[in-house]
């Protein structure tokens, strides 16, 4: 029975990937392509955030800061030094991974959960004031504009495919991380306290590794973000993107692989509808987060699972009657 469901899953995922691959050929508007680019990048950001909060139990609140560091680094290097994004994006990832692991990972991961939340939040909160003080390099409050695209003469459709490819690779890496020995050990620990001690892995070291992976990949995502969209400013670090990221994880289903992707989809496209609500948009997002946590903590994935069970029951019933 399990085999069948996983086959169904594979088939479903394959179909979705194929649809996403041929979608730009159907001639969607530039605006829709733009939204899909956002969706790809946000999926990566949300899911690597979820890797920390949902899988490993590191309560990070600073992942948008990681995104900004990666984006700024890559943006500055390509804009000011004329380097190709092909080089600057990985450098951005490395810089993010190093900075974050050094400043946050080493101290925070030795401490209990709440300190990690505090430290990462305060870290991300400090970045804007650093940006305004380094105006010559970072553009200060105005941010960076006209950041070079991935290659000269790039069109939206190219950016779409580049980000799509990045999305696929990032998800594949994430899948491998979650299903590695370390990843499975963390899942086991999350699900059963009594198992935690018997596994005999170096918890600190493994947490540090996962933290480094998450910040590195989020930094890379920052690079893809700036070279696709062409600008970045301190508003990236304001409350809204932070809230969007959290909402994606919670709404999709914290601690699941597909949840944050579904959440990113729902939020990126839903946020456009929410614009109709005007200034109440953020209030609605806040209410959404509260509501999901309180009443439906499994998010969309829980809904999918319950529907799946119901369908299974219906199929079985059919078999019996036959």
């Amino acid at each position: 029975m399990k085999k069948i469901t996983s086959n169904w899953q594979t088939a479903f995922v394959t179909v979705i990937v194929i649809i996403l691959a041929i979608y730009p050929m159907l001639g969607p508007s530039s605006y829709l392509k733009h939204l899909f680019i956002l969706f790809f990048i946000w999926s990566v950001v949300a899911n690597y955030w979820n890797l920390l909060n949902g899988y490993v139990g590191i309560n990070s609140l600073g992942n948008i800061g990681f995104l900004a560091i990666g984006g700024y680094t890559s943006g500055i290097l390509s804009l000011r030094f004329g380097l190709s994004p092909l080089i600057t994006i990985p450098i951005g990832g490395l810089v993010t991974g190093l900075l974050v692991t050094l400043f946050l990972g080493f101290p925070a991961l030795r401490l209990s959960g709440i300190y990690i939340a505090l430290l990462t939040l305060i870290f991300a909160d400090t970045l804007p004031s650093i940006l305004t003080q380094t105006r010559d390099i970072t553009g200060g409050g105005m941010g960076l504009h006209e950041i070079p695209p991935f290659f000269p003469g790039m069109e939206k459709v190219h950016a779409y495919y580049i980000c799509f490819l990045f999305f696929l690779i990032a998800m594949l890496i994430l899948y491998k991380v979650i299903h590695s020995k370390t990843g499975l050990a963390f899942v086991a620990m999350r699900d059963s306290e009594s198992l935690a001690n018997t596994l005999g892995i170096n918890r600190y070291q493994e947490r540090l590794k996962v933290f480094a992976i998450s910040s590195f990949m989020t930094g890379i995502a920052g690079g893809f973000y700036v070279h696709s969209l062409g600008d970045i400013s301190p508003t990236t670090l304001s409350i809204e993107p932070f809230l969007l990221g959290l909402a994606m994880i919670e709404l999709g289903g914290i601690g699941t692989f597909y949840g944050p992707i579904l959440g990113a989809g729902a939020i990126v496209f839903g946020n456009e509808f929410l614009r109709l609500a005007g200034t109440l948009r953020l209030a609605l997002l806040g209410a959404l987060i509260c509501g999901v946590i309180l009443f439906y903590p499994g998010g969309i994935m829980q809904l999918v699972e319950e529907l799946g069970k119901r369908i299974k029951v219906m199929l079985n019933r059919k078999k019996v009657t036959e």
Binding site: N59, G113, A117, S129, L285, L294
Partner: protein, 291 residues
């Protein structure tokens, strides 16, 4: 020299305000182990509720007192009900620490934007208690600031008496020191947690009113207050009320001196640097709270 002394004095004044603001945070954490990530907006609700009563007057009068009383009643009820209907169900689940954090963040943003809808984005302030100032040597202090310090001191004394002398206050201390111990002596910990939220929200709301009289407020300022509160309670030791008071005063003075010698834009990086150093060297804070 003159400006140095004045900086110290103004540091002490903002320090006492920060102390008031951090107290609510540390009370909740010390007793319930919930870290209130909606702290800033609660202070803001206190400030705006009081503002309704004084919006048309130039100087604080009896209407502010009435406003404060209404704020106290309203925030107590809000805290009590919030624990009862939102925190309590979350506390019963295994990952309660992160779910309460995220819930309060979400609620904070929700309430912030409700405030924005009701009161608009423009900066507001609550009128001062008393105009004018006095001079002591080279030091010049506003009457208003003297009254603020006085209120903070009274509040701290009242809290101490409450925790030491009253039955509920003692039960709160008991819960803070040992939850199973409190349970076996027959303390209803859920009830105590609800009262704790009520009490802490009241303290936080009052601190918001004070901040609203000294500085200004807009719907977004709550986050700034909250993050400063985070640094203070970490520095003082999570869950330690005395630690929070000392830390607030120290940070208030450091902030004033940094502004004097380096400029205002360095204030925030310095707060962060202090926070990092504390976490690296002494994560339990100066007075050793609950790490």
């Amino acid at each position: 020299m003159e400006s140095f002394i004045n900086a110290i004095v103004s540091g002490l004044i903002s320090g006492s305000l920060y102390a008031a603001m951090a107290l609510g945070l540390t009370i909740i954490y010390g007793i319930s182990r919930i870290f209130n990530f909606g702290h800033g907006v609660i202070a803001l609700i206190g400030a705006y509720t009081a503002w309704i009563f004084v919006q048309n007057s130039k100087i604080a009068d009896m209407s502010l007192l009435l406003g404060i009383l209404v704020t106290i009643a309203f925030l107590f009820l809000l805290g009590f009900l919030l624990y009862r209907y939102a925190m309590n169900p979350l506390m019963k689940k295994p990952n309660w620490d992160i779910s309460t954090v995220l819930f309060m963040l979400g609620l904070g943003i929700l309430l912030e934007n409700v405030i924005l809808q009701i009161f608009g984005p423009r900066v507001k302030s609550i009128p001062v208690f008393k105009e004018g100032y006095i001079r002591i040597g080279v030091v010049q202090i506003n009457w208003h600031e003297i009254i603020i310090i006085f209120i903070v001191i009274i509040a701290i004394i009242l809290l101490n008496v409450f925790f030491k002398r009253t039955r509920i206050g003692q039960a709160m201390r008991a819960v803070a020191q040992s939850i199973p111990g409190a349970q076996v002596v027959g303390i209803d910990i859920e009830k105590i947690f609800s009262y704790t939220f009520g009490l802490a929200f009241v303290v936080t709301g009052i601190s918001g009113i004070l901040l609203g009289t000294k500085y200004y407020m807009n719907p977004h300022i709550g986050w700034e207050w909250m993050v400063k509160g985070f640094v203070i309670v970490s520095f003082g030791g999570l869950g330690s009320t005395n630690g929070a008071i000392y830390a607030a005063i120290i940070l208030g003075v450091v902030e004033a001196l940094a502004t004097l010698f380096l400029g205002a834009m360095w204030v925030w990086p310095i707060w962060f640097a202090i926070f990092m150093v504390v976490l690296l060297i002494r994560p339990q804070g100066i007075l050793g709270g609950r790490a």
